[in-house]
């Protein structure tokens, strides 16, 4: 069964169409790379899939939840999101942030410490998130995905601002996720790394031009 399917979806911001009619089917246990020039709508597509934007027109399902209704909240709950800005509390430390989120979603709290260690934040456990460097913040997002183990991963330019070790880690995680049955959608400007096998979703002018 398709893990997500979008039909003729238009998303507008004010009067401007961020997405201008998107059709898409995502299979389980696969990774997808969304590509396209700047401003084409990659971030908007990922936000739509995460249940963070409501469609103005068209219909769509993600993980069997209807995007057009209040089920969008359920989508958010079940999706792993890694964005540009990071969605953490600036004043709390990395550990506190993950502990709060894990407890709130009734996940295994014991996973937090190893996850932080794994992404290389072992030396910054008590530093408030606002003081972390760009790459460290991205790594914290990664750690959250490790704790979260979502069924659908949505990664907006995950490789940006990561160093080489971080990129390898990221690729590992993506491969691991698809191997264990999850679906990964990432946007990227870099040519996809050879170590990640993925279908391409090419966007142009707020629409999807080609999948394959």
């Amino acid at each position: 069964m398709a893990i997500a399917s979008l039909r003729d979806i238009v998303v507008t911001a004010g009067t401007f169409p961020l997405l201008a009619g998107v059709n898409l089917e995502l299979e389980g246990a696969t990774s997808y790379v969304v590509t396209g020039p700047n401003g084409v709508g990659k971030t908007s597509l990922l936000r739509l899939l995460a249940g963070l934007e409501a469609p103005t027109r068209g219909s769509g399902h993600v993980l069997n939840f209807d995007l057009a209704t209040t089920q969008r909240r359920q989508v958010r709950r079940n999706v792993g999101w890694l964005g540009h800005e990071g969605s953490f509390y600036d004043d709390l430390s990395a550990t506190d942030n993950l502990l709060f989120a894990a407890r709130a979603l009734r996940l295994d709290v014991a996973l937090v410490a190893p996850a932080l260690e794994r992404v290389g934040l072992g030396g910054r456990l008590r530093t408030p998130v606002k003081l972390l460097s760009a790459g460290q913040r991205r790594r914290l997002g990664l750690a959250w995905l490790l704790v979260r183990r979502p069924q659908l991963w949505l990664l907006d330019e995950p490789y940006a601002s990561l160093d080489d070790a971080g990129r390898d880690l990221m690729s590992d995680l993506i491969n691991h996720a698809t191997a264990s049955g999850a679906t990964v959608v990432l946007s990227s400007h870099d040519p996809v790394r050879r170590d990640v096998v993925a279908s391409h979703i090419e966007m142009r002018g707020g629409r999807i031009e080609r999948v394959g």
């Binding site: 507008t12 004010g14 401007f16 201008a20 009619g21 396209g36 142009r204 002018g205 707020g206």
Partner: protein, 239 residues
């Protein structure tokens, strides 16, 4: 039927308003105590009624309909917005006519009477609603937020009302104007008063309808624009 209503609503509202004004000015007598100023009775109470009950009730109802998933529609949102906008105008008019009326008796433009104060507070709530609408440009978000705010305001109305009434009655013995408010109403005056309520209610309906029409026309324009915008977006090279 709908068409007919649309056609005659404006003219009927206009004519009843004109008749009210004519009767208020020329047919009914001036008051012995208050003189010509008493003629405000044919406009002020009706304004207050429209502002506080009719339009606010409409806005609350429409907002509740919007929040209820089964009845959610753009129409409800638009009607709520139109009703609040019109209501703001009527509240302003109520305050203005009331002040003009009160000035000779009180010697000042404003007293901290319960009814006056609660009207003012409600007026600010309406301004808040409009500010909230302006501050969001995403239509869904705006509709949701302003509907919730309207509901919050609705539960506030009785709270504001009672608090202000009690606040007043505790400290103040004799109210200045309870006597003055007791206008002797008879004959043509009673009819004119009744007519004024009908006339202003019709005016309200007319204005809301007009505002609603403006809203839906610009929304229609927007969706026509949306087609054009979609076309433009699709052919964009990307930047």
């Amino acid at each position: 039927m709908k068409k007919l209503t649309a056609l005659i609503l404006g003219p009927v509202a206009l004519v009843t308003t004109l008749i009210t004004l004519w009767m208020g000015y020329f047919v009914t007598p001036a008051d012995k105590v208050q003189g010509e100023l008493a003629r405000l009775v044919y406009i002020h109470p009706a304004q207050a009624w429209v502002a506080l009950y009719l339009s606010f009730g409409t806005a609350t109802l429409a907002s509740a309909l919007y929040l209820w998933p089964r009845t959610r529609s753009v129409t409800a949102d638009r009607i709520a917005a139109a009703a609040v906008e019109v209501s703001t105008v009527f509240i302003a008019l109520t305050l203005i006519t009331g002040s003009i009326w009160g000035r000779p008796t009180w010697g000042v433009w404003w007293v901290w009477d319960a009814r006056l104060t609660s009207t003012a507070v409600l007026g600010v709530l309406m301004l808040g609603y409009l500010a909230l609408r302006r501050a969001n440009d995403d239509p869904l978000l705006r509709a949701r937020r302003s509907a919730v705010f309207a509901i919050l305001t609705a539960i506030n109305v009785p709270i504001v009302h009672f608090s202000v009434v009690w606040w007043k009655t505790l400290h103040q013995g004799a109210t200045v104007f309870t006597d003055n408010r007791h206008l002797k109403i008879h004959g043509s005056m009673a009819w004119t008063l009744l007519l004024s309520f009908i006339a202003l209610s019709l005016d309200f309906a007319w204005l809301v309808r007009a505002r609603y029409r403006v809203g839906s026309v610009s929304a229609a324009n927007e969706s026509a624009d949306l087609e054009a915008a979609l076309e433009a977006r699709r052919t964009e090279a990307g930047a």
